[in-house]
């Protein structure tokens, strides 16, 4: 089920994120491999989303946030002064909890990243890039005859797949998903889970989810985060999903995934 020999794409070392004077997460050490889906699970407030946002420097957009430690992307520390965060975010795409399409047509939503990131493409090349992204996001068949329709005409599940297509259009290496199905019905959720499995060979996918069974279904590796006594989020267990859900090593993991705490 998993590719343990796959190359490491993202490595996090001794990461600490502080909001004002509050330490949100600390001593985070973890690596993420290509062609694998890693789920980050844990109770509310344990710092899952904070960790996710640290991986593509989205925390830079929060004025009170400060980050220490290292996050390496293909061996380069993304927090180095000479690294452009906009470039990092194009290589490490992100999909959020609620679908957030732009107020444009379906086509222009997917083409948006290609245009603003300065891709020099002919009209045909642009069309093919948009089509490829929509195919990968398992949305093409549903929208191919109405690409000029407004994105808001799509259902919630379709809008979220559109957002995934938008993220994929700029050829990222890593895809971060922050509870991407939390606002969707079970059928739409199942579609997104299937599409993640279908594209995982080409990407490094990291998904934050509150739904433990989603983590069990969709991921190859699982990281469990838990707040300590001072409410600082830490990774308490990391390993193959199969092992985490059948034989967790940490009692807190056992209690959390079994629904005894959290």
């Amino acid at each position: 089920m998993s590719e343990s020999s796959a190359p490491e794409v993202v490595r996090v070392e001794a990461l600490r994120v502080v909001y004002g004077s509050k330490i949100a997460i600390d001593d985070i050490n973890i690596s993420f491999k290509r062609s694998n889906i890693t789920a980050i699970i844990g109770p509310s407030g344990c710092g899952k989303s904070t960790l996710l946002r640290s991986i593509n420097r989205m925390n830079d957009l929060i004025p009170a946030a400060s980050v220490s430690g290292r996050v390496y992307f293909n061996g380069v520390d993304i927090y180095s002064k000479d690294v452009d965060p906009v470039y990092i975010r194009s290589r490490i795409g992100m999909v959020f909890q609620r679908p957030n399409p732009f107020p444009f047509s379906i086509f222009d939503n997917v083409a948006f990243g290609l245009r603003v990131n300065g891709f020099k493409l002919t009209k045909d090349e642009l069309y093919n890039k948009v089509k490829d992204a929509l195919v990968k996001a398992a949305l093409w068949d549903e929208v191919k005859d109405r690409l000029d329709n407004h994105a808001y005409s799509l259902s919630g599940g379709q809008q979220q797949r559109l957002c995934i297509a938008r993220a994929l259009a700029v050829d990222p290496e890593v895809l971060l998903l922050d509870e991407p199905t939390v606002s969707l019905d079970p059928i739409s959720t199942a579609r997104i889970e299937s599409l993640l499995r279908s594209i995982k060979d080409e990407y490094t996918i990291i998904i934050v989810t509150h739904n433990m069974l989603q983590a069990a279904r969709v991921s190859d590796y699982t990281a469990v985060m838990m707040p300590d006594d001072d409410m600082v989020g830490r990774i308490i267990e990391f390993g193959e999903t199969r092992g985490i859900f059948t034989n967790p090593r940490d009692k807190r993991t056992e209690d959390y995934i079994s629904g005894r705490i959290g």
């Binding site: 069974l213 069990a216 859900f245 059948t246 034989n247 993991t253 056992e254 079994s258």
Partner: protein
């Protein structure tokens, strides 16, 4: 706060204990019938049928719990083990019936030296009681103790086979009856050790597969 799943797990535990007690009782009756030449076939047969019913019920409950509550970790290992253990007890009931049937077929064995059978029965009785206790309390040490006792059962069986191949005299009925009974007893002891493997699996996670 207890979980909805806990009620299902408790129901499984109760059914499994009921089944285990019936299996032990069936085993005791079958060896008593053999050693004292008592006709217990009907009772052991009825017990085997009842064991089949409880086994089916346990499988149904386990399937429902998996489908409805998607258990993980120790809960999942416990449910999987309940299915395996109930199958072990079902087989124990079946071997008890075989002991009873071979006893009926061969007639009275009161003239035979039944020491190996009484020795094995005594040890297996303790193995079964201890494995039930280990399962109820999830006591890994007790479970490991049961597995050690199994070695003596295997020894008694092998010794008897060796002795028969060397002996030229004596009534053949005794040899056949004793070996048949020892074979079935040895299988019952094996199932007791499988149950103890399940105890270790529930508590510790995957254990090395038995050869």
């Amino acid at each position: 706060m207890s979980r909805i799943l806990d009620m299902g797990l408790q129901l499984l535990s109760r059914r499994l204990e009921e089944m285990f007690n019936l299996g032990i009782s069936s085993f005791s009756k079958s060896t008593e019938g053999l050693l004292q030449y008592k006709d217990v076939e009907r009772e052991v047969y009825e017990a085997a049928k009842r064991l089949r019913d409880i086994y089916e019920e346990i499988c149904d409950i386990a399937t429902e719990l998996i489908a409805r509550y998607q258990p993980v970790a120790k809960d999942l290992r416990f449910i999987r083990s309940c299915i395996n253990v109930s199958y072990d007890i079902l087989r124990m009931g079946r071997y008890a019936l075989e002991i009873t049937r071979s006893s009926s077929m061969l007639g009275s064995l009161l003239e035979c030296d039944l020491t190996p059978i009484s020795q094995s029965s005594e040890i297996i009785g303790k193995m079964l009681r201890d494995s039930l206790q280990a399962l109820k309390t999830l006591d890994v040490e007790k479970a490991r103790g049961v597995k050690l006792m199994d070695e003596r059962i295997d020894e008694i069986y092998r010794e008897r086979i060796r002795a028969i191949t060397l002996e030229r005299d004596g009534p053949k009925e005794c040899d056949v009856a004793i070996v048949l009974a020892l074979r079935n007893l040895e299988r019952i002891a094996d199932h007791a050790t499988y149950i103890c493997d399940a105890v270790e699996y529930i508590v510790l996670g995957p254990v090395k597969h038995r050869e």
